[in-house]
Symmetry: none
Subunit: 188 residues, 4 copies
DNA sequence: AATGAATGAGAATTCATTCAT
DNA sequence: AATGAATGAATTCTCATTCAT
């Protein structure tokens, strides 16, 4: 009888624990020893679950995207009215800000060093799409071109905050964007 | 007889030549040998002009920001009418897209690994400000809150394109943003 | 209820199964995991039967030599006439060629890394002796000096084939050697 | 002006110095640090001259074979009479015994771990051929089949001595082989 | 007995940096 | 000033061995 460990489940835990480490220092700058130490295992164990640093990183990206998608979905599930959804999305996006930033850091890193293949790209786009959709619902936007623009605003705030700007925030910028949109559409 | 070269001038040339290399691979991932080879000198020469990889990188950031600022300014100088400026800025931002993306890559990289000090930050902000101003003039925006929002849109497009999205572009998104702004303000 | 297996018997089976693996890759180059996988058990099981890689290897050498000796002996047992023996030895040596090569590989490997102790050495010499004797009988050689020379020829063929030469074979070279011997002795 | 080093010449010196180290411990068992230390340089320097352990080993094999061939040739060059040649070959083979053994060790090692390509093989065969030829001249053998047999005897002595047998030697076994040959041919 | 997860010392290799020329 | 050889600490990764189940 072997030691009882759900290999796959544990692998996912290790990935979750490495998330911050990779996001903070970047793929190239963090060492496997630092990762191992940071999540409390030996390098040997790390390599027992992942064949290489690169694969670990790829799985990290994948899991973090998929989890993000699931989280948004599940948040939406148990609510019926638009008002409820709006509240939840607003709450969600503020609460997830740090995570969103880290996720974007990871993705930028990933793009720089890997020839991003279609599967990965679609995963990222799907994730982004969910976030855009959630925000679009919050702001009651239907025009797809404007949803895209909204995506840019979100990404812009993300990048701004990633680079340390404290003058902008999701609430403020999205709020302003919502107002402008409302004002412009009233006219039509 | 020493070669007649202005030490400082040559240093700047080396920085200019390293720009793409650092932007493409990232600070941690590129090696000094790769940089040296990429710009056609020996590692020894590189170390003759820069005491360390880190300092080289810092000077790279600084020079690239300052140059960007100067470029925008000079572009604006010789034009009087708004229309002329608009044309030039539009042309400029499209033409510089790739450079802007690389610059942002570098800056993200820099922020991840250095405790950004006020001097650096102000440099970056000044640079960003110039770009925002240029774009603001193009779109005839005066409200500072909206200029900030515009900054987010620009950054968002930048991030989007950095991550490989081909569905968005400065022209399209800024155009749309301009329209919405116009529509919303007409009402007032 | 423990499984009904003779511990010692099973150990021997494991040794037999590891023979090829060690011979093909060499002691230093093969890993215990590869061995375990190759013979269809877990590393834990391997270590249950052998305290270390080194001991496993030593026992492998010993068992393979002893088995070789027994095989030659048993082949000889049930035959009385010289002719019969000759036929069997000839058959045996051709049929065992691959095994002999592997055995020699193992032994070379062993000598390189271990201070060969007298017990081991005598084992090897006894084995070699048997083979020489068998071949000597086949060729009806009695002079001990010439038996030694015969040993060299056998070893030479072994080494040649180990290194991939397809131009020589036991049958051919031993045959030629026999002829020369016959020719030279007729004269006396 | 760079440090004045004949890169290629120094590479060859490093190879020559590594010869014994690899032969004694075997490719898999020796570490690059041990090699570096053994030849008095840093690991970094080793990797400055050889891209990998494997390539170092391959070049080692090649250089050692080629050198062997050249040595035999040069030894033969300046001598006219058969007697002189015989003396030199006898001297050579005894004096080179240890080197021949090590070379064979290396080659066995090489064969075990590399898919030997035709170029390598022909190098080895050419080297072997030279040795056979030299010995054949010494013993005045012309029949190609018997030269091949002679090769087996040489290889057999080589293997025997490699495995520690002190009862056989080139002089003794080749001498005996020569006598037998002479005896057998006189009859014809 | 049997498994395979866990360990950490040690392997190959890289790379910022120094230094002789 | 310029070169590239040399260094060795640090990196990624491996593997004999141990141990909980």
């Amino acid at each position: 009888m072997p030691k009882i460990v759900d290999h796959d489940q544990y692998r996912k835990e290790l990935l979750a624990k490495s998330f911050n480490l990779f996001a903070e220092k970047g793929y190239a700058a963090i060492t496997m020893r630092q990762v191992a130490q940071g999540i409390g295992v030996s390098t040997g164990t790390l390599y027992h679950y992942f064949p290489s640093k690169e694969v670990l990183f790829e799985q990290l990206i994948e899991q973090s995207c998929q989890e993000s998608i699931l989280t948004v979905q599940s948040r939406m599930k148990n609510t019926q009215t638009l008002r409820e959804r709006l509240a939840l999305v607003a709450e969600y996006i503020e609460e997830q800000e740090e995570k969103l930033i880290r996720q974007t850091q990871l993705w930028i890193d990933f793009c720089q060093h890997h020839a991003v293949n279609p599967k990965d790209l679609s995963l990222w786009q799907r994730m982004n799409h969910r976030h855009e959709q959630a925000a679009a619902e919050m702001l009651e936007i239907t025009n797809p071109e404007i949803v895209k623009l909204l995506g840019c605003v979100i990404d812009g705030v993300l990048l701004g905050r990633m680079l340390g700007s404290r003058e902008i925030s999701f609430t403020k910028q999205l709020g302003l964007f919502g107002e402008i949109l409302a004002a412009s559409s009233e006219k039509n």
